[in-house]
């Protein structure tokens, strides 16, 4: 296969397989379950193909339609995109295997879940592969609309309320982003990231563009204090949707912010370029602490996991001050590890919560009623995911925190180091709060509904993924370096191929 297909083909497949599968699922709902899983497998295959290609041939630039930037739209794949694509493929496959089990009880939801989720996947893959600011805007909109529609799928009052709020937030975020695109286009005559990276200069235009785009993307990423929409949305959506939202959707807007920062704005210098990372770091630190404390206070499992996401988002932003304008690579790699680990682990945790919900008919933490022996696989998945979230070894979360701490200690940023450690301790608090109650019986023993094995195993395998990520350095480390995403701007490396 690698002989027949090149990197460009794999990249094409990553966008078009989910797109066409979405159409097919919409057309033939009866076949959606297996079409969806088939598409997920194909996407994973394409991702592996792309990763293989990147590792052997370096970063990839594809001119769609053959025009090339600035006239046409270019695709771009480097280590940063590949890592996120891979995480998306794994989580996507896990959720796709899980979903038929979950939605068996809700055929009406199942029917819309598939096309919406596959369109969401199209947007995620498209976003990670795009090198064009306006194309990224369109991807953001596909992402936002499909995510909001998925959130509303449960049809409950809380779900609809949360989805409506999410939709408005998402639209506002994309609008702000588009405003920044407008400014940049008129300032520098292109929307290609690499070309912009060469042309952009410090000044009011760049500053304003940075501010509005960052604001829009922060809103979508739910960094404190923009997190208000997240817990209700992630807490009330159907479990597989919560998993997608928490694991994947917020990563996409974070990725875009990171990409813009690395390739366009971090090199601009000036007061803003110095202050913004510090501000983001402070907000991130506040998010870690606030989100964790809120998670500890929750009585409902899904809300607890949702607040944990608020906290985990905070970690991602600690990379900005720690990397600084000198692009301290270790900090960015730490952030990437944390993002990947969070994706896998959080998906596992939400899917586990879905199992517990299906089993008991509720998700009150204090009434988990011996879930440990009644749903051992699910609880194992929850705990293994939790281990990575806490940053305990061996796990992807541990590697991420280790690198983040390393960066903080090297630079003497004690405050951030303390936040990282404290966040881990608080995370252990809320994860084991759940686990503790899973050992105790309730006064009146409850009968549970059966939970299909595919739901239990998909959660468990995702959690294993989060753990195994801790051992992935031998191949993930070189992959992250492909195209030097954390160093030079795209264009200078891109010229090589």
């Amino acid at each position: 296969m690698p002989m027949l297909l090149n990197g460009a083909d794999w990249a094409t497949a990553l966008v078009f397989v989910p797109l066409l599968a979405a159409l097919a699922c919409f057309l033939v709902p009866r076949a959606a379950d297996w079409l969806g899983v088939l598409a997920a497998l194909l996407i994973l295959l394409a991702t592996l193909g792309l990763v293989q290609d990147l590792l052997s041939d370096g970063p990839l630039r594809v001119a769609v339609g053959g025009w090339g930037a600035p006239l046409g739209i270019d695709l771009w794949a480097d280590g940063l995109s590949a890592a996120l694509l891979l995480m998306t493929a794994l989580v996507g496959l896990g959720v796709s295997v899980y979903a038929p089990g979950y939605f068996a009880a809700h055929p009406q939801q199942q029917r819309w879940f598939w096309p919406l989720w596959l369109l969401l996947w199209t947007a995620l893959n498209g976003l990670y592969l795009s090198a064009d600011l306006f194309n990224l805007y369109v991807m953001l909109e596909v992402l936002g609309l499909s995510a909001a529609a998925l959130t509303a799928l449960s049809g409950s009052a809380t779900g609809l309320n949360a989805a409506m709020r999410y939709l408005l937030v998402s639209l506002l975020g994309s609008a702000a982003y588009l405003l920044g695109v407008a400014l940049l286009y008129h300032g520098y005559g292109t929307v290609d990231i690499a070309l912009l990276g060469q042309r952009i200069e410090a000044g009011a235009v760049a500053t304003t563009a940075l501010l509005v785009m960052a604001a829009g993307l922060l809103l979508k990423t739910a960094l404190l204090p923009f997190h208000f929409w997240l817990p209700p949305a992630h807490g009330s959506a159907p479990a597989p949707v919560s998993a997608l939202l928490s694991a994947l959707v917020i990563k996409a807007s974070f990725y875009l912010l990171l990409r813009l920062w690395l390739d366009l704005f971090s090199g601009l210098g000036g007061l803003l370029a110095a202050l913004l990372p510090e501000l983001l770091g402070l907000l991130g630190a506040a998010a870690v602490l606030w989100g964790s404390v809120q998670a500890l206070r929750q009585r409902r499992l899904k809300l607890l996991i949702a607040y944990s996401t608020v906290a985990q988002i905070g970690y991602l932003f600690l990379g900005f001050p720690l990397a600084g304008v000198q692009a301290e690579e270790v900090a960015w790699r730490a952030v990437l590890y944390l993002a990947l680990a969070h994706g896998l682990a959080k998906a596992a945790m939400f899917l586990s919560a879905g199992n517990l919900l299906q089993f008991a008919g509720h998700d009150r933490i204090a009434d988990l009623d011996r879930a440990v022996q009644r749903l051992p696989l699910t609880l194992t998945a929850f705990v293994l995911g939790g281990i990575s979230i806490m940053g305990l070894p061996p796990s992807g979360g541990f590697v991420g925190k280790w690198l983040l701490l390393e960066s903080a200690f090297t630079q003497g940023r004690w405050g951030f180091a303390i936040v990282v450690l404290l966040g881990g301790v608080l995370a252990a608090g809320y994860v084991f709060k759940v686990v503790g109650y899973a050992f105790t019986p309730t006064e009146i023993a409850q009968e549970g509904e059966a939970v299909p094995l595919r739901m239990q195993w998909s959660a468990l395998l995702l959690a294993f993924g989060a753990i195994l990520l801790g051992f992935s350095a031998p191949w993930l480390w070189p992959l992250l370096g492909v195209g030097d995403p954390f160093g030079l701007p795209i264009a200078e490396v891109g010229a090589a191929r």
């Binding site: 051992p376 705990v383 301790v425």
Partner: protein
């Protein structure tokens, strides 16, 4: 006497990995066994522990003859997960492997017919896996990883009973160990950013940093010691230990004698000798405060034990006290004290597990949980109480039981280092030990038994209790006698501790 190292031979990677696998794999399989598959589970348990014991034995022989055992797995660029078997590792390894076998036997008898045995034995095996991982850690990162795994795998054992009390105890246990883990992590990363390596080295790897980073090193030392000190139950970090007594008896035995507290004490040994190097640590001025903390802990634990009526709690406070003997030996700079501390790692394990086995037997057979219920129990359960008595004599430090050897070396070590106060601490502690243990023996052997025991179980015939419950304490009691009597034979803990001190810590 000792053959030279054959540098041409690559280190053997299989044995360390097999040692891990011999408990990991059975553990994982056991999780999936149905509750009623008693014989399959037992077979797996016993096969695993026997194989582990054999492997450890083979490595003991090999290391004595200067064989190298090491395996590694890259985790991060420049940082590997390293297993390396050295004489020091073997001290802890053989203790774990030996006592695991006995505790498994005991647990099989103890948990007969109780629910969730597959889960119990699964975590039990994982816990041992983590312990041997700690023992074989070749660098601080590996140590940290297995140390945290130990926290995770012991938690389900602590809350095993699923009562509200057990859940609370579990939360407290976690609160202590997780915070400690965070500090350990902080210290480790910080050290790594300064030193650029974490590989355990004879006489430490920080000597070059002392001049430039004196205060950082002191801070790191404090972080690391607190990080492992919680598990070693150093005062004031000890409060989780007595509460964790809600766990089933085999767990208490394991927590107190082998896995958790010993991992903590072992960690202190590693930090002082292989991270800092005892001379560097002394030069930094951190060993003296550590010795004082240890001394205080010794006395504090003993005093608290005096006032406990609950037998297991009394034993728990006794553990708090006894583990710090090890720390004291480590913190007094000098070969003899080191030998005393190291040898106590093993001695205390063997003796304390005897006591816990016996306490479990009393609870399981007669429903006795309190000291005040033990009147005349020696007549009803003579063999159990015989074993208990030997353990007690060892704890007090009466010759020829093993405890005497430890105290002898610790005292001598203190004198060798020109210190007199350790002697007083040891003497005071022995008096206190006698004060809280001898009344128990008096009650058991010389008081009249009550008309009925709190909750007596019949094991058929005239048996005092199930043989699976009786055998392990008898074996460990015999062991504590033997390793005391024949302390200077080769391959005894004492001789091995001397070998470690000679080969690793005090090279000319």
């Amino acid at each position: 006497m000792i053959p030279a190292i054959d540098a041409a031979l690559p280190p053997n990677a299989w044995l360390p990995l097999l040692v891990l696998a011999s408990s990991l794999l059975p553990g994982l399989v056991i999780f999936f066994l149905a509750e009623q598959r008693y014989w399959t589970r037992t077979l797996l348990n016993l096969a695993g522990s026997l194989v582990k014991l054999l492997l450890v034995g083979a490595m003991l022989w090999g290391v004595f003859h200067q064989q190298q055992y090491a395996a590694s797995l890259p985790l991060l660029p420049g940082l590997d997960l390293v297993l390396r078997v050295r004489p020091l590792s073997l001290l802890f390894l053989s203790l774990s492997a030996g006592l695991w076998l006995l505790t498994t036997l005991y647990a099989i008898g103890y948990l007969e017919d109780s629910p969730n045995r597959s889960r119990f034995f699964g975590f039990f095996s994982l816990c041992v896996t983590a312990t041997v991982g700690v023992a074989m850690a070749g660098n601080l990162l590996t140590f940290l990883i297995f140390f945290e795994l130990l926290t995770l795998t012991t938690y389900p054992l602590v809350v095993h009973r699923g009562t509200e009390e057990a859940r609370r105890a579990g939360q407290i246990y976690l609160a202590h160990t997780v915070i400690a883990g965070a500090l350990l992590l902080a210290g480790t990363v910080w050290l790594y950013t300064l030193a650029g390596t974490l590989t355990f080295t004879t006489q430490g790897f920080v000597a070059d940093l002392v001049e430039r980073h004196r205060w950082s090193l002191i801070a790191i030392f404090v972080l690391l010691i607190i990080g492992v000190g919680v598990k070693a139950a150093l005062v004031p970090l000890q409060s989780w230990l007595p509460r964790a007594m809600v766990a089933p008896a085999p767990v208490s035995a394991l927590l107190h004698a082998v896995a958790v507290v010993k991992a903590g004490a072992f960690g202190i040994v590693l930090i002082v000798y292989d991270v800092f190097g005892v001379e560097v640590a002394a030069e930094l001025g951190v060993t003296k405060p550590l010795a004082l903390v240890a001394a205080f802990t010794i006395l504090y634990g003993s005093v608290r034990a005096l006032f406990q009526d609950n037998l297991k709690r009394r034993l728990a406070f006794s553990t708090v006290s006894q583990v710090s003997y090890i720390v004291l030996g480590v913190a007094i700079v000098g070969p003899l004290a080191t030998v005393g501390g190291l040898v106590h790692l093993v001695h205390q394990g063997v003796m304390k597990i005897t006591l816990f086995f016996c306490a479990g037997n009393l609870a399981e057979t007669l429903g006795i949980h309190k000291v005040s219920e033990m009147n005349g129990v020696g007549r009803r359960m003579p063999w159990t109480m015989l074993a208990f008595s030997i353990g007690v004599f060892g704890m007090i430090g009466l010759p020829p039981v093993a405890g005497f050897i430890s105290k002898w070396y610790l005292g001598l070590g203190g004198l060798e280092a020109g210190l007199h106060w350790p002697l007083f601490v040891l003497a005071g502690s022995s008096l206190l030990n006698a004060a809280y243990f001898l009344p128990i023996l008096h009650r058991a052997w010389f008081c009249e038994p009550p008309e009925a025991w709190p909750e007596e179980r019949d094991f058929g015939g005239n048996k005092e209790t199930a043989w699976l419950l009786l055998l392990p304490p008898l074996v460990t009691a015999a062991l504590s006698l033997l390793i005391g009597l024949f302390a200077s034979m080769p391959f005894t803990p004492l001789e091995w501790a001397r070998l470690i001190a000679e080969r690793e810590f005090y090279q000319p």
